[in-house]
Subunit: 374 residues, 2 copies
Amino acid sequence: MGTIGENSQPSPNSVADFWAVIPAGGAGTRLWPLSRAAQPKFLLPLTSERSLLQQTVDRLSAVAKPEHTLVVCGPGHAVEVSRQLPEVPTANIVVEPLPRGSGAAIGLAAALIARTSPTAVMGSFAADHVVVDQVAFVRAIHAAAIAAQDGWLVTLGLTPTRPETGYGYIERTDDVVATSEHGTVFRAERFVEKPELAQAERFVASGRFTWNASMFIWRVDALLAEMRRLLPTLHAALLRIADAWGGADHDEVLAREWPGLEDVTIDHGVMEHAARVGMVPASLGWSDVGDWHGLGELMEADELGNCGVGERVMIDSARSVVWSTTQSVVTLLGLDDVIVVNTEDAVMIARRDRAQDVRQIVGELKRRARPDLT
Amino acid sequence: MGTIGENSQPSPNSVADFWAVIPAGGAGTRLWPLSRAAQPKFLLPLTSERSLLQQTVDRLSAVAKPEHTLVVCGPGHAVEVSRQLPEVPTANIVVEPLPRGSGAAIGLAAALIARTSPTAVMGSFAADHVVVDQVAFVRAIHAAAIAAQDGWLVTLGLTPTRPETGYGYIERTDDVVATSEHGTVFRAERFVEKPELAQAERFVASGRFTWNASMFIWRVDALLAEMRRLLPTLHAALLRIADAWGGADHDEVLAREWPGLEDVTIDHGVMEHAARVGMVPASLGWSDVGDWHGLGELMEADELGNCGVGERVMIDSARSVVWSTTQSVVTLLGLDDVIVVNTEDAVMIARRDRAQDVRQIVGELKRRARPDLT
C-alpha cells in the first residue's frame, strides 16, 4: 500500500486541498431482494447505469480529484468497490476489518489524510444517496469549505420537502458563520433525533430545521481535535492505526486495535457535542433511496404513475413499481400502489406504504437461516 | 391403429358395458402463467401429484376399464396425453386434427364405440374438473346409467352451492325417469345459459336448478339417433370418419371431412333440443378449477387463509394464493386477497377478485406476439 494522495495535482475545479471521503457501508436491507449483504445498495445501479457509489464519486469529482477521494468499505466489498472505481488509487480504498460505525470509519479517513495534509479540508458523503441538483451541491460545499477553513465543523442541511419522521433534523441559529456567493453557513443550534409527525410538521413550518444526511465538511485537524476531546480512546486508537497504515505492522496493529474500537456514529459521538458546528441549508434534490417507495419516486412514471424496469404487463394497476432483473415478464392485474421486485432467486410483493417493512422479510429469512437470500 | 375395446374383459366394479369418454380440450387461459396452449390445464398436476386428466381417468376407473376409456385430444397434446395415461390403449387416444367443438369430439367417440358396441352406455366427462366426493360421483353414474339404458340422454346436474353466474343451469321437472338405490333421474325441463345474479339466486333458492358441467350419460345409439335428427350433416360426416378410423384411408377421409365439420357444442347442438333428457341432481364437491381463485379454494389454507406451493414468506397478508414453480422464494408484505404465480418465465400478480380477468393478460401477450408466453 502506498501513501494516500501522493503525486496529487491541483485541479482547476477543486476546492483548494479538498478531500472527499465516502463511507460505503450498510446493506440497504429495505431494497431487498435487489440489495443483499454481498451486494449492498451503494454497489447497485439503481437510478442510472452507474452505481450509487460511482455516482457519488462522479458528483464529488467537481471538488476532489480521484487522488483526493477516499472510500472506506468492508472487506466483503473491497474488490467490487475497486473494480467500480478504477480511477481511485489503490491506497485510497480503505478497507475496515469489521464495521465499527461511522466514527471509526470517518475518523480513520481524517487521520490518514492528516498524515500528509494535516490542515486539509475534507467532506464526508454517504455512498448510497442520490443528488439531483449537482450545481447546488457544489455551491453548498464551497460555502461550507469557507467556514471549515476557519475551524468549523459544517453540515450540509437539506431543506425539508415534507414532514419526514424517518430522518434526524438540525436546527440552525441566526448567527452567520460565513457567507459568500456560494451560500451562508449558520451556527447550528442542535441535532434532533427522528421526530414524531407533529414535531416534524413544526420543524418544517419553522424554516429553521433541515434534514441531517450526514454530509459533513471540516478541516481534518479540527475534527481530530474534537474527537480527542469527545472520544479520546477512539481517537488515540485511530492515530495508532493511521500511523501503522500501509506499513510493515499494518495487519498486526489493525488486528490488535480495530475489534475493540468504540462503535459510535460521527453524528452522536462528535457533531452533537462539538463546540463550533455550522450548517449550510441546501436544496439538492436529495434522496437516500431508502426503500422501494423512495426509489420509485426517482423513476420516470407513466400517466398512471407506474414505473419499472424489465418487461411488464399492467392491467388496471396504478402508482406501482415493478422491478425485474430476470427475463421473466411481470404482470400486474387490478392492484394499485404495490411494489413488485423480481430477481433470479426471489420475488417480493409489497403494499407500497409498507416499503419500510421490507426489512421484516429479510429478518424472517435470516431466522430461516437463508444466507443465500440475505 | 387397432380396434377400440378389443380384448376387453368384464370388471367387477364397472357398470356393465360402460364406456368413459374424456374430451380433453381448452387451454385454461385463466390459470396463466401455469397453463399455456402447449401445457393446458388438464395436463397440469394442480390439486395432487396427478394431473387433472389423470385424476379424471382414475375417478372413472371405478366404472370403466382402461380399454373402455377414450380420450379425445388435439394433435399438440397427444404425446403428453399418451405418456400420462400409459394404461389407456393406444387406439383409445383419439386425436382430432383440429378443434371443432364438443359436438364433433363426443359424437366421434360415440360413433367409434358404436362400431363394436352399438348399444353401449357411455359417459362424457371433461378432463379438467375436480370431484372430491368419489362415492357420490359413482352413485350418480349408476343412477344415470339406468335411465340411459332406457334411451334417455342424462346429465349429472350439480347441486349449486352459490348463485354462480359463470355456469349454465339445468331445470328439472318432477317427472321421475328412473329411481334406484343410487339416486333419482328426473326429466329435465330446460337448459339455461349463464344467468344474471338475481336470476341465479332464484335458481338456487328454487331447488329445481343444477349446474350444467357437461357430464352426460347415454346409450351411444340414443345419442347418435338424436344427432342424426338434430345435426344430420355432422352426424353423417362423423359416421364416414368413424368408418374409416384406423383403416387405410384414415388420413384421407379425415383430411377431407374434418375441416368442414360444424363447430357446435354437444350442449347447444343436441342436449338443449333432444326429446328425452334426464337429469340426476348430485353433490360431488365439484370444481371446474376455472381460475386461480377457484384453485385456491381447493387448497389447504393456513389460519390466515393463505395457501400455496413453493417457499414463501407471508407478512401481514391473508387470504392469498402464492404458487411458485421455481426455486425462488416468494414474499408477500401487507397485501390481502391477492394471487401470485411465479414460473420460469413469468410472474403474475392479481387481485383475487380479478382472477377471471387473467385472460386479459394472455390477450395482451398475444397482441405483443409472445407465443413463448401464451
